[in-house]
Structures are given as C-alpha cells and as structure tokens.
C-alpha cells in the first residue's frame, strides 16, 4: 500500500462515518450521565497503540478534551460526563482521518432523582456529591466479584440493593481465588493465552465491557465503585508490566471508565506488596491518572505494611489499611492531622472466621471500629470473611453472613441524620470520644467503656451559656435510640467546659458499645435540621 491510497481511502471513510456517527449519537443526556460518541474507524494493525482519538466538548463557557479508546470490531468511543446542563458541542481529533473532525451538538438535561454527580472532597476531611448532597462512605470490599460465575454476580447486586454500603472496593484485574481452582476466570483484560502468554499491547474489550456493565449497575444502586487498578495478587503478569505498558493500561482504563460518575480510582491494593514498582512509579501513575481523567474522580492508594505519603498532590484522600488505628477514636483522628485529607480506613480487618487475624473480627468488634472512626471524623470500610458459595463476600461477593451489616445500616442512618458537613473531633487531642459540630451536634461514643452515667459536659467551642440540648442514648449493637426526658441547659464550668445548669447527667446501662447523641434545641423547640444539601465546593 502507498500513502496516497491510504489518504484517499481515509477521506472516503470519513464521509460515511460522519453520517453514521450523526445517526447514532444521542441528542441529549442527563447531567453527569455518560454521553458516548461511537466512531467507526480502522480495525487493522493494532488500533490500541496506533490510533489516538479524542473529542473536545464545549458549551460556550467551558472546553474539555476527552480521550477516547478502541473498543474492538473497528469501533472507537469517546465518553463524556457533562458537569453542566445546556447545549454542548463536540469535535473529534485523531491521527486517523476517519476519526477526525466529526462534530455535533447535544443537550444536557438536569440530573434525575438519585443522580447527584460524582463524589468530591468537601471541607478538607469529608466528601460530598457534586450537587452538594453529603456523601459519607460506608464501604465494603468485594475484590473479585466481577470475575465470578454470573449467578454470583447477580446475587452480589441483589445483596447490595438492600445492604448499607454506598461504596465498594473492587479489583480491576483478576486475583487467584479458591473458586478459580474450579472455574478459570471467564475473561481476561489482555489478548493472548492464559495464564501467562499475553499481548500487553492489545486489550480485550470484552473484559472491560463486562466490567463497565457492573459499574453502571453499582451506580444505579447508589454504590460508588472504588476501582483498584493494580494489585499484587494476580501473578499472571499484569502486576509486572513495563512502565510503558502500565501507562498505556492506565490511559485505556481511564478513557473507558471516567465518564461513569460513581468511579473512584484506587491506584493499587497493598501497593507496597507489589515489589516490582517503586514509590516513584506510583507517583508517576497517580499523576497520570490525574492528568488523564477530565472529570477529576477521587484518587487514592491503599497500603499493605508501608503507609504511602498521602500528602502528595495527586492523592485526594487517604485509603488506609490499619485495623489498629480504629480500635479507639484517639488513634483514628491522628492520620487526619498527618495528611490533612479525608481518611477512609478501607481495611480494618474483616468480620469473619479466617484462621488469620486479618479476617476474624467479631461483628461487635467491626461495628466498634466503625463507631471509633466515625466520631473521630473519619470513615471505615467493611469486609465479611465467612465462607459462602465456596468463598467469602470480601473475596467474591454473593451474600453476607456476618452480623455487622444491619448495625452499619443503623450507623449510616445516624450519620445521614447528622450535620451535612460530617463530624469532626470536637475537642481534638483531648476527648476523642466526641465528634460533631461545635454548638450544634455531638456524637459521643464510649466504646469499650461501660459507664452507668455521663454527666452532661460539652467543650466550649461554639457553646454559649443558656444553649439547650436534647440527648438520646444509642445502643450501637441493639440498634435502639432512646430519648432522654427534658433538656440540658449549658452553663460555664471552667476554662474549657460547659455543664448542665442543674448538674444533670445522662443515665447509661453500664455496657459497652453505647453512644449519646446531643442536638441543640432550636428556637422552635426542635433539634436543628438534620444533614441535607450543602454548598458544593
């Protein structure tokens, strides 16, 4: 073939493609939904490495260049998540004629009910959806669920539909599991022959199409997908690719997934166990995710034994494995100060019956850890490590067996009834049992203590004499909330504290796992309005 022929053939295809694209391209899309351009183009050679395609989207005020990707069968796609309503225009760019210069307009309509946009960091230590709705993660772990028999995947979705979880950590590339000794993974991310003969320059679009289907289903269930790009477990070779292939993998995945509003990027699980990569590699890859994602999804990296430098600019929040840090709230709050970002204790050991101590917490202990993290102004993640369907929920989904989930639903409801901006330590480094908002809201968790009485006492910040508070006693395990008769009226006790004017105390049942909720009584005699929309940042 010669260049002249190429050029003419390309021009011819362009004419055809343009009309096809125009016909197939949707005319409108919901705000924060996926607007997809489908672009026929060259299928010969290796389109994954030879063809670059992107589109510029603009609405008059804003212009965003969005990278596209090859989806196999001669089809290229560019996916756009519009952040603003109104008319948008697009125009494609490529190093191949058929994919260049295609343009059109579409309308972005307001988000429907339940679509709050992507989650962002809010107020240094917390999260909110793009529309300002608070997001308080109550996450779970289903590492390999997309890689299990179809009926288990469906069961997983059914479980999530009624479970308390609004975030799920999931691996992107397969991990060997006991189940896989009987069933080989049904699909692989790269072209080639399992288990080790891969062409890392060619992705398997079917693998990602399947994964995307699951991402969309999680989204429709209100579950954020914390997608883990690299993991040390596979041993199929995906963890030891060259830097060039790692970069290409990141670009491909981000181009495919970034328009799904519920995607979070978790660069790696137990990154430090992936010994072929250095911290400089992770910094490069993290910065690449940041640079490649036009929609700025949350980015984190999850540790094994060595904690990452979460102050790095590309890291949006701390994804921490350290169970000991949520054994009591005084520990949990320390990493907030160290990193000045939201802290999500994504792995605090699992509820279960593993012979290993990372997977044999009691339900009570896991619930305790959630409460410790919560009053410290951090967030905690769940895992269920009981054998079900030949493996565990945490490893491959299916159904839950532990006793913590209903208590986490109870906690989540309390969190959602709390201040829109989340909880912060009220008297930091002094009384870590108390999280809240000064003067308005206090959640006091007594943990392993078993007090029979709590003399009313609040730290001075935000409090003035005469303020009135209503108290409720919360049993975190029995899931009861018992209002206390009457009101507490604040009077100054000393340099630091206000106490009740009549010296009253809250009576407690003398058992562990108890909490108190204090809410200031407004002028109408009712506690302040519970958590709702906040100004988006």
């Amino acid at each position: 073939m010669n260049c002249h022929f190429h050029l003419r053939a390309g021009a011819l295809v362009l004419a055809i493609v343009s009309s096809v694209a125009a016909a197939d391209t949707p005319r409108s899309v919901q705000r924060w939904d996926v607007f997809q351009l489908e672009l026929p183009g060259p299928g010969d050679g290796n389109p994954f490495v030879e063809v670059r395609v992107s589109a510029v989207f603009e609405n008059g005020g804003r212009s965003v260049e969005v990278p596209g990707f090859y989806d196999g069968g001669g089809i290229y796609r560019v996916r756009f998540m519009p952040a603003e309503t109104g008319v948008w225009r697009y125009e494609t760019k490529s190093n191949r004629w058929p994919l260049t210069g295609q343009s059109g307009t579409f309308e972005v309509t307001p988000a429907a009910k339940g679509n709050h946009g992507p989650v962002r960091v809010h107020g240094t230590y917390h999260f909110a959806y793009a529309d300002g709705t608070p997001f308080q993660p109550v996450g779970t772990t289903i590492y390999n669920w997309t890689d299990t028999p179809e009926e288990v995947q469906e069961e997983t979705l059914k479980t999530l539909a009624t479970a308390p979880f609004n975030k799920a950590r999931m691996l992107l590339t397969p991990q060997p599991t006991p189940y896989q000794k009987r069933f080989a993974p049904p699909r692989w991310p790269f072209a080639g022959q399992p288990p080790h003969d891969w062409d890392y320059t060619r992705f398997n679009p079917g693998y990602f199409q399947h994964y995307e289907k699951r991402l969309a289903q999680l989204r429709d269930l209100g579950v954020e997908a914390d997608v883990i790009l690299f993991n040390p477990y596979g041993k199929w070779g995906f963890e030891t690719m060259s830097a060039e292939r790692d970069d290409a993998f990141v670009r491909y995945v981000v181009a495919r997934f970034a328009a799904y509003r519920n995607v979070w990027w978790s660069l790696a699980n137990e990154y430090d166990f992936l010994r072929t990569k250095t911290e400089a590699d992770w910094d490069r890859l993290g910065a690449l995710v940041q640079a490649s994602d036009p929609f700025h999804h949350l980015r984190s990296i999850h540790n094994g034994s060595l904690i990452y430098d979460h102050r790095r600019a590309w890291v949006t929040h701390v994804s921490m494995q350290n169970g000991s840090a949520v054994e009591e709230p005084g520990r949990a709050e320390l990493y907030r100060d160290a990193f000045r970002k939201p802290v999500v204790y994504d792995e605090v050991k699992y509820e279960g019956q593993s012979p290993y101590r990372w997977g044999n917490l009691s339900g009570e202990e896991l619930v305790h850890r959630f409460w410790c993290g919560t009053v410290a102004g951090t967030y905690v993640g769940h895992g269920d490590y009981f054998l079900v369907n030949e493996d565990t929920w945490t490893s491959f989904g299916g159904r839950l067996k532990g006793t913590s989930a209903p208590r986490l639903a109870f906690l989540r409801k309390i969190m959602e009834e709390g201040p829109a901006g989340g909880l912060d330590p009220i008297d930091r480094w002094q009384d870590p049992r108390v999280g809240g908002r000064p003067g308005d809201y206090y959640l006091i968790y007594f943990g392993r203590e078993a007090p029979t009485s709590w003399p009313f006492r609040v730290y001075k910040n935000g409090v003035t004499a005469g303020m009135k508070f209503k108290a409720e006693v919360i049993d975190t395990w029995a899931m009861t909330i018992t209002p206390i008769e009457g009101e507490f009226r604040a009077v100054k006790a000393d340099n630091y504290y206000f106490v009740d004017a009549q010296g009253r105390a809250v009576t407690l049942p003398g058992k562990p796992g108890m909490a108190i909720r204090l809410r200031r009584v407004g002028p109408d005699g009712h506690p302040a309005k519970p958590g709702s929309l906040i100004d988006p940042t």
Copy 2:
C-alpha cells in the same frame, strides 16, 4: 574615594591581617570540636550585609566550604567542625581583600572521651552520634533560660548536670515571661532600641556570643541543644521580619552555631501560630538551613495545632506536639508510619500545676507518656511547670520541682541498657505494648492496665523454638527491677506466637505502670550484651 585607592588599601591590610591570623589560629583541634578562624577585616559600613566571607577546608579527600560571619569590632570568624582526623588545610574567600586568600593548615586529633560527634538519624526511626554511639533522646524544655538572670542560668546548668536529660529545647529569640515584667531582657539579637525599634540588618554579636557560651556548656554536659530559630511569642518584631531578613537571620545563626556539635535546628516552635508565615515560607527556611549548614545537623519543625508535612526532604525527624498521641503506645506508633522518620514527641503537656491543661500533668502521667512513647519506638520530651524563682523550669530553667525526673533517669538507664539500635514495635498494629528487637529483647509496658499475671508470649519474628529468655519485672514509678526466677523456653503456640514450654507466666503486682523486660539468654547463660556502639551511618 576611588577604586584604585580602595584596592591598594585593601592589599596593605591583607598583609597585616595574614600574619595576625596565622598567629591566632589554633594549630590543632579535636575531631568534632570547633576550629575557629579569627579574621580582622573592615568594620565600617554595615559588615553584616556588605561583607561575605567563607573558607574552604580540605584534607585531601574532602573539601567543605564553610560560611563565616561578622562578630563585631572589625572581627570576622569562620567556624569549622572537622569530621575526620588528620591534617586539614583552609583558604578563605571574601568579597573584601583583607579577608581573601588567607590559608593555613592544622591537625585534627581524635575525639576525647565523651565527644561522640553530632547526632544523626540512624536506622530510619532512631538516632546515633557520628561515632556510632546510640543516642536516645530524653529531652526537656527550657525555653528562655539564656535570657534570665545570670544566677538562674548557672542554676540551670547545675540542675542539668545531674538531671536525666540529654537534650534541651530552647528559644533563640526572647519570649515575654512573667519575670521580664521586672527585668528587661539583658540583651537583644538585633541592634536598635527595645522593645520595637530594631535595625534588622545589624545583629548584636554580644547576644549570640552569650548564647554560644551556653551552647558550649550544654555540650560539655552532654546535652544536645535543640535551638528554636523562630517563635510566635516575642511580639517584639523578630517574628514578622521580611523574607529577606528571615533568610539573613538563618544564614547568620547557622554560620555562628553550626560548628557546635550538639546543635539541632528546630525551625520554629508552634510554627502554625506564627501566622505571618506560610508553609511555603517554612519550606524555604528549612531548605535554607539545610543548604547553609556544612555539618548537616538535625532539622525539625514543631507544631501547634497543625501538623507539618514531615515527609519534606529537609526535615530529618518529627518534632511533635501532641500529648494525646502518647497516652497509649498504639497511638504513638502511628506517626512513625506516617512520616517514616524518628518521632520525638517533644511536647506532650508538662508536669505541673498550670490552670491550663497543657501544663498540669501529674508526674505519674508524664512518666506514663514516656513509657508509651518508648515501647512504641518513639521518644518523648519533658517539661516541668511548677512555679520556682518566679517562673517555671520549662519557661526559664532554674531547678526542677516535679516528681518525674528521677523516673526518667531510671527509664533512660533502661533505654541505654537496651538494644543499640533502639526499640521498634515488635508486632506492629497488633500489640503496641511491646517494643524491642525480634528474638533478642522485649520491653512490655502495661500502662494503665493492672494485670496480676502475664503469660509468657512473644511474637514469632526472630524467635525459634527452644530460645530461652530471662524476665524482669519493672516498676516504672518505684524504680525497681525484679528478676524472675528461672528461664522461659519458647515453643510455637499458633500462627503468630511462641509461649513458654511449661506454660509459665510472670507474676505482676496488679497495679498500673508496670513493665516486663525480656532478654534472650546467650550461650554463656547471660542475657545478650546491652546497648553499645553501632556501625555509624
């Protein structure tokens, strides 16, 4: 005046100065002592800003350029701390003729007893002197002691001569104290009129000469001087200088003090309360200290409420204010992981009777915090906040009144008898009560627990079946060490632990503040050799 005249006058002075300098320059100096060049030069104009002087020192293998400084009265000095014995040659450089091109040789003799060189970071989380002698900081706080009546300063030195402290935190510029309401500070760091009319371009050499005298006295007592360059307290203007004057101040101080081997640089106390400076300013100043100090002393920055990003390259170790972090060892170990540097909890509240909660710990509580930090593989600092001599030890030295110091001497002895490389968490994130060296040495601190028995149990790392251990019961308050009869022989209990072959336990007295020391018994029937010299790094 014209340039020609200047040049000839300069050349003439040079000839005279060279012979003077040769006569006054010492012919030999001890390794890591101060070798000082005294150089007469121009005293007119403003030598602090107009004259630059330095000297290059070389010994054949190594060449170090050392900045000098103007010491008033027409005298310039260059101070050199030689790190290697043998013959060294120097040659001066300057932008003024009389100070240029002076050269000579001198001999560096071996360090005498008690001179171990400067302290360096050793083994990521610990310290050692340059000669490899372990250094385990047991620090105290005497912020304004150089600025008190002479007799109080002398009393401070007498106290330190028998106190357990091997490090002292001290401000460089004055802080208003109750005592100063009666006595104005005897000297000021800048030329001008107190309290606010300063010429920031002219230092007061007498101020620094006095400070250096105290540095040398601390050195001779074996006390590291943790010199705090900036503080938010003065309100005399030294805390709100321009960036240019801050930089000049840092350069001047480093040129003066860096040859004192016991100097540590603490960039600021409660840096975040110094609201005229940004974190970028602190990074600039920290990097400037690093670049200006040819002898690479330790560098840190101390927080108020906002914790610094101690991962920054210029920070050698963490200087932390957070009392809550050493209330139990499980908290104390967390910052080690976050920053991967030695952690010194320099301010954990003070023993004392302050009406404020930062200064009213009991002696028992402060000793408890030291032990928590110690078994967590970190270091803790002392303060004594009882009124003595119209002020407190922590504010201005004098004498101690608290009850903790003898117990810290007891602890320091135990630390120094321990492993040369310091203590690390033995079973990190699992049993924070235990610090030590796997298989060799265990220090178990029970804190507020009051057990009556401790069934022998050690984590598997470094342990093999059949190893024998001797145990001692330590009362951290009564300062007793009680050996337990017989030996414990390790047998594997499960995935994680070894226990005693005969199921023996250590009997404890059922009160708080108890510890156990386990040492492996060597082939000669005695515990391994206690801490001594380690390979310097």
